[in-house]
């Protein structure tokens, strides 16, 4: 029986990219369905009625949503190239850091990115504090899990391509190789993994896209 795997995504969604990376790392064949977020397909709405978002994974006719939940599903279903370590304690650490990416780092970075002037100035120190926590965690490690790329790395992967994009757009430098040597090294290590490298959205296209997002947010804020 051919087990069909389909992935609903957009080319730029960092959440959807996580799933692409996981599927590629495990060598799983899948079909991509690109969504237009301004005009969501009936299929997407059917398969993710609660959040109506990408990514959605379709496997054996069943849909799974929420990127971290999908990553765990992939890990539970396909045992090759494990993304989680063996020991329960190390698994817990991977879960902890994956969660940290979404609950702490992403909001902090977004807050810097989607503001300007005084608001932005005030948003910068908390973001740097969070980056320092990650720097500390990565000391002496190639990846979050140690020597091999894993779930936590995939969760943080958006940082490896978006951080530079956001810095370019805002003209701000949140991290540099001097103050964040481990984090900078991790970005290089992560980006160099072939499955990641081959599935990297084009830099210029990302800059254009996120520039537009920033402008839209700032304009909306100004009219309040």
């Amino acid at each position: 029986m051919v087990e069909e795997v389909k992935l609903f995504r957009t080319w730029s969604s960092p959440y959807a990219l996580r799933i692409v990376w996981a599927l590629k790392l495990k060598g799983i064949e899948y079909e991509t369905i690109f969504e237009d977020i301004s005009n969501k397909s009936p299929l997407l709405l059917r398969y993710n009625p609660v959040h109506k978002k990408v990514p959605v994974l379709l496997h054996r006719g069943k849909s799974i949503s929420e990127s971290l939940v999908i990553l765990e599903y992939i890990e539970d279903t396909w045992k090759q190239a494990p993304l989680l370590p063996e020991s329960p304690y190390e698994i817990a650490r991977a879960h902890f850091w994956a969660k940290f990416s979404d609950s702490k780092l992403m909001p902090a970075i977004w807050h810097v990115f989607l503001t300007q002037g005084k608001q932005q100035e005030e948003a910068i120190p908390p973001a740097i504090e969070i980056l320092k926590i990650i720097e500390e965690e990565l000391k002496g490690k190639k990846y979050f899990g140690g020597q091999t790329i894993g779930l936590a790395d995939i969760a943080f992967g958006w940082m490896a391509n978006l951080l530079y994009v956001l810095e370019e757009i805002t003209g701000l430098k949140l991290m540099n190789t001097q103050n964040f040597p481990s984090l900078s090294a991790w970005i290089n290590n992560f980006s160099d993994v072939p499955a990641i490298k081959e599935n990297w959205p084009p830099h210029e296209k990302l800059v254009t896209k996120f520039q537009a997002i920033r402008e839209k947010y700032l304009a909306a804020g100004a009219t309040k």
């Binding site: 609660v50 329960p88 698994i91 817990a92 902890f96």
Partner: protein
């Protein structure tokens, strides 16, 4: 029992996130030591064990700390993989419980917190938001569990029972402290699942006492004991 295999839980009695952990340990019959934290004066040990968030609950096992309640639940299930299991075996069923646990933590819990802090017109809007989210939650759970309670796995409390019940079973204390009434008829299924859960001996044992919790919520959020005008 040798020191290193000891299980220690750092928590606060009123926190549903902490109740999740102690419920899970009790369910699996794992002995543990409990340390009650004063969040206004956090112990050095807590900060040492959870330097990133400095929060409860923290589980320390074999000298190693694990933080974040859902991470702790999965650790407990992974390490003590005896029956009863907390999470289902099937990958798709596991995805479903993780999805709804996240929905509860990322949508329902924050909306409930917002409600406590609002007054006047904002409060009306916050109540409407909570109602809307509860509707999505209930309908989604009904769909995914074919109308059966998602909070039980046979006779045992399920993963979702632990995650959701630890908070939702206190709904009467919450309603009283915050002086809000949700229309139970609008969420008849959810209310019946919660009531069944509350009647379970383990839940009865582990939930905080009603009056104590009402007083605690009022104190924490500086709410007056009189009903809102």
């Amino acid at each position: 029992m040798d020191k290193q295999s000891e299980v220690v839980v750092f928590g606060t009695w009123a926190s549903p996130y902490c109740t999740r952990v102690t419920l899970a340990l009790k369910l699996k019959g794992i002995p543990y030591q409990y340390v009650e934290e004063d969040l206004t004066n956090k112990s050095e040990l807590l900060i040492q064990y959870n330097p990133v968030h400095k929060k409860v609950p923290v589980l320390v096992h074999e000298g190693k700390p694990i933080a974040e309640s859902l991470v702790i639940l999965e650790y407990i299930d992974e390490f003590w993989n005896n029956c009863p299991k907390l999470l289902p075996e099937d990958p798709y069923e596991r995805a479903k419980v993780r999805f709804w646990a996240n929905f509860y933590d990322q949508k329902i819990a924050p909306a409930t917190l917002s409600l406590i802090k609002c007054k006047g017109k904002e409060r009306e809007r916050a109540i409407a938001d909570c109602e809307e989210l509860m509707k999505v939650f209930e309908e989604g759970l009904e769909r995914d569990y074919q109308g059966k309670s998602p909070f039980f796995e046979g006779e045992n409390i399920s993963y979702l029972g632990i995650v959701v019940g630890s908070g939702s079973c206190n709904y009467q204390a919450f309603n009283e402290a915050v002086a809000v009434t949700f229309d139970a008829e609008k969420h008849a299924a959810f209310v019946s699942w919660v009531e069944d859960l509350k009647a379970h001996p383990l839940m009865k044992e582990m939930l905080p006492p009603h009056d104590k919790l009402v007083a605690k919520i009022r104190h924490k959020f500086s709410l007056s004991p009189e009903p809102q005008a």
